[in-house]
Symmetry: C2
Subunit: 478 residues, 2 copies
Amino acid sequence: MADEREAVDAAFDAARFQELGHRLVDSLAEHLRQAQRGAMPVLPWVEPDEQVRQWSAEFAGGADPLALLERVIAGSNHLQHPRYVGHQVTPALPLAALCHLVATFLNSATAVYEMGPVATAMERLCAGWMARQLGWSEAADGVFTSGGSLGNLTALLAARQARAGYDVWSEGEAGRPPLAVLVGAQAHYSVARALQILGLGRDGAVPVAVDDRFRLDPADLAPALRRAEAAGRQVFAVVASSCSTATGAFDPLEPVADFCELAGLWLHIDGAHGASAALCPTERHLLAGIERADSVVWDAHKMMLLPALCTAVLFRDGRRSFEAFAQEASYLLHRHDPSEEWYNLCGRTFECTKPMMALPLYVALATYGEGMFGSHVGSRFALGRQFGRLLAEAPDFELPVMPTANIVCFRYRPAGVSDLDGLQAEVRRRILAEGSFYLVQTRLPDGIYLRVTLIQPRTALADLEELLETVRRLAPKP
Amino acid sequence: MADEREAVDAAFDAARFQELGHRLVDSLAEHLRQAQRGAMPVLPWVEPDEQVRQWSAEFAGGADPLALLERVIAGSNHLQHPRYVGHQVTPALPLAALCHLVATFLNSATAVYEMGPVATAMERLCAGWMARQLGWSEAADGVFTSGGSLGNLTALLAARQARAGYDVWSEGEAGRPPLAVLVGAQAHYSVARALQILGLGRDGAVPVAVDDRFRLDPADLAPALRRAEAAGRQVFAVVASSCSTATGAFDPLEPVADFCELAGLWLHIDGAHGASAALCPTERHLLAGIERADSVVWDAHKMMLLPALCTAVLFRDGRRSFEAFAQEASYLLHRHDPSEEWYNLCGRTFECTKPMMALPLYVALATYGEGMFGSHVGSRFALGRQFGRLLAEAPDFELPVMPTANIVCFRYRPAGVSDLDGLQAEVRRRILAEGSFYLVQTRLPDGIYLRVTLIQPRTALADLEELLETVRRLAPKP
């Protein structure tokens, strides 16, 4: 017991923390310099099973934590590299990482207010700020949750409770007509997953057709509703995307909102990636109509330079934010207003204990100002369109759609290739193995495409020209 | 645009990060020294609306981030204070906070392997290590998820898919008998919530009686099953707690496992708090039978000194870990073994992008060794029992149950008090306002009790003697 006491005391020793902290900060700073300079592969490719073999699982203690963390840094993907053009995960502001250091050091987590008083206040202020960016009034409110998937689930739970026509939370779905939601065919898979969690099966998500630019086609909403009703389904909501994950398509929100209003349906917008366009005057038009949504999910960890996770789920009518986990039927809302207890956030998110989620967003906004984030969105969306034009002019590349934003899909199509899918997958595999770029792939209706997200602030058009050259260089010759 | 480029470049400047990082580490180290010494209130109490008013929501930029973060540190709860005896949130190892700095700096998040190769490998190794602690074979597997609530949901989704008798994920629940789960009456509220998310309503959780020590009473399992079936419910699982949140009661797992085996039900153990007892030879007996569970949730951020969140959801048969979000019906499992793709973790958790969750656990285990964590559990559980004896001997205090572990409920009951509930709530309010301790309260069947979690490694019996004196001193006189 005395030994243990000594070991724990040593682990909490302030001087040791201080020394290790300084050395680690130096190490990260040096890594940042090198990565920004491109002086390393974007990702050090190792096969999964081999990666596992490279790390010991014997925990006798005695490892040098700095050496271990330096191996972690070297072995991870380097998002600070200008040629990181992969998933919708942003290189993180170093200040935001320092905020996470503070948050986890304090571990002043939230569930109820008194567990994390500062964290709770910042969450409220950030949610209010985001709601105002969407054009909402002071009546709006929101909470932070662990990622966009959980945010979509939370919004859909509130929608189910508000629009199913009975108290689903208390009574359950059994013995009722099966519920359903109309979902654009290009929506994120987490929406269908959320509905399957709710017990609605695969048919709980009723697909709405998309147009030739992969945008939800409002003309198919009424037919989709009729199809669902003909199958005995009771529809309670429509989900639109701002923007879709696969191609960056922004659904037209005004006609979708018109339809929802007429049909009495909840309108949820998955704005995980694109809601940040609200910060940029030149891109704001892509969200026209979002102010009519009932709920919106917005990931600040995508276009706002913050590390994962920093997701807000926002409600136009703040009282609706208490319905996802209804403590009493919604028809009682006027008798006991739960917003009197706005500060016990676990009443509104599935999480009980959750970290100080909004701290990095609050500190980054206060330090850099909202303008910097809007400009970043504008510059990356513009680069996406420039890259689109570059691709359109290249005779050996093919675009499925001219990009609207900073997600761009394309495929390499030199003369005489028969297995287009195989070619894309193989060239990507070779690029990853070389480490010169990190890009991903996606399956569209007519096959596999390469896909980039231009989210790194330092990626320039010249890098993308070089990417096309790299594709040409590494593609297997027919 | 040039201005924006300059602003973003400055925000990613390595030298600025380095300087701010050093100053912040110094600041945190000094805070740690002072907090450990008890040279501050445990929590600086401010009413919620007043807390919000103390922070600006105008984000023009230009704030000094160090000054802001120092205000955050000062205004948060101080878990490093030896008199923090509040929720099941642990003071965090400073090294773990440094791991979060690295994780968020790199933002090498996971969803599929190639997004976060090191993070994925460490998650696999940590899940395997935890499974072995539970007495499971190499066939076990697990994933990390954002908190115990989501872990319980994930396990229940797998249970639903494996034991409902049809492919719920694809077909949905409509037109079938309503499902249900037998749940000890003292289980965490997240279990009932998860079942209500699934659309099962309040009756989806069938309560099983507890004995006079708040442990699930195995004798009530068969009657509970009959009650559920009489109500037309199809039961697919039993949830037991190791231990319960309110009182720290460990359910007797052997008879529960016997019952599940006979009845063909999935056994899920919510071990969020107590699964760490597996690390301590003197406390291991509390988990006897856990090796027979189908799934276990274990929060390393409770008894393993790690900051929130670090939750594993573990499956005795690793193949079952692919069923929560079944991509195909479980009866096809033998035809296409999804464990071939173990490394694309988003197939098994609701999260798509998730942070490098296991990194702090891996580094802490490698650095300090598993023994330190087992000793910590043993010392805190023993302190809980010592405090129980102290309370039992105090004539003006009352214990609802002698504690098993480090969660202790008690109430102050001086002679001549009629409003016992009001007295506990008021004395707690005064203690919080004074800041001398942070403790919580809980409602048991016969009223409100004060409640402590002895999770701070420095809390000593003398602190708890002082707590009783403080209760006596601050209690309103009749």
